[in-house]
Symmetry: C2
Subunit: 114 residues, 2 copies
DNA sequence: ACCTTGAATAGACGTACGTCAACATAGAGG
DNA sequence: CCTCTATGTTGACGTACGTCTATTCAAGGT
């Protein structure tokens, strides 16, 4: 799995290269599972965009499955984790979120002559 | 697969319900494949956000595979298709794109007391 | 009617994915 | 040390997914 750094202009501006697509698709893929998306939204909507696993683990699947999904989100570059004593905290990477948001903006609207 | 209508406030605002997550994850999932993301970006970056299949089919996979992926994007609500004579045109749904972009905006930043 | 080109469908195949139960690891606190 | 709680890891299982070849459907042109 690629490092998943922020990437690329709005999708409406120009087509992605194969490499850009691979890197970027990895991030979308990470959010493409309902359980992962819920976990991510739970972290993102917590104060300071950060939450303990114990605060977000109630999503209807077993604890190992939660851990597995958090790992996937981390590998995709969308979350970072840090152990503080007994608990492990996950935090969203705001820059990555912003990059994905920009990717989906349809700002320029090329050649809409009207 | 759900109808995939536009949905939901920014991920930072509140956590998604299970149903919202399922609906929304389907859209992210559709963009979570490199080939599909390239196809989508090709359509999105064409004039009027619309392109003939013949204009975008060169992504390194067979023609049936391209057709398969375009169908998936359509089922996810991200593209619409229309036959015009010999050719079939695919067009992005701007509202859906905008909704996804808004979902990824981290506007309010709750409780960053600093 | 026939053939040609553009695009969708059907079916098959290998791989990746989501899930779980069982086990392992990490600190905290007696 | 031992144990309790919080997370992560392993290995297995069924299903979904991406891809292909072969075939079919749709429109045009001759």
């Amino acid at each position: 799995m690629l490092p998943a750094e922020p990437c690329c202009p709005p999708l409406t501006e120009r087509e992605l290269t194969a490499e850009e697509a691979q890197r970027t698709a990895a991030m979308f893929k990470a959010l493409g599972d309902p359980v992962r998306l819920r976990l991510f939204s739970k972290v993102a909507s917590h104060p300071d965009n950060e939450a303990c696993v114990c605060d977000i683990a109630d999503v209807g699947v077993s604890q190992p499955t939660v851990s597995h999904h958090l790992k996937k989100l981390k590998e995709a570059g969308l979350l970072a984790s840090e152990r503080r004593g007994t608990w492990v905290y996950y935090r969203v990477e705001p820059s990555v979120l912003a990059a994905m948001g920009q990717l989906l903006s349809l700002a320029p609207a090329p050649a809409k002559v009207a």
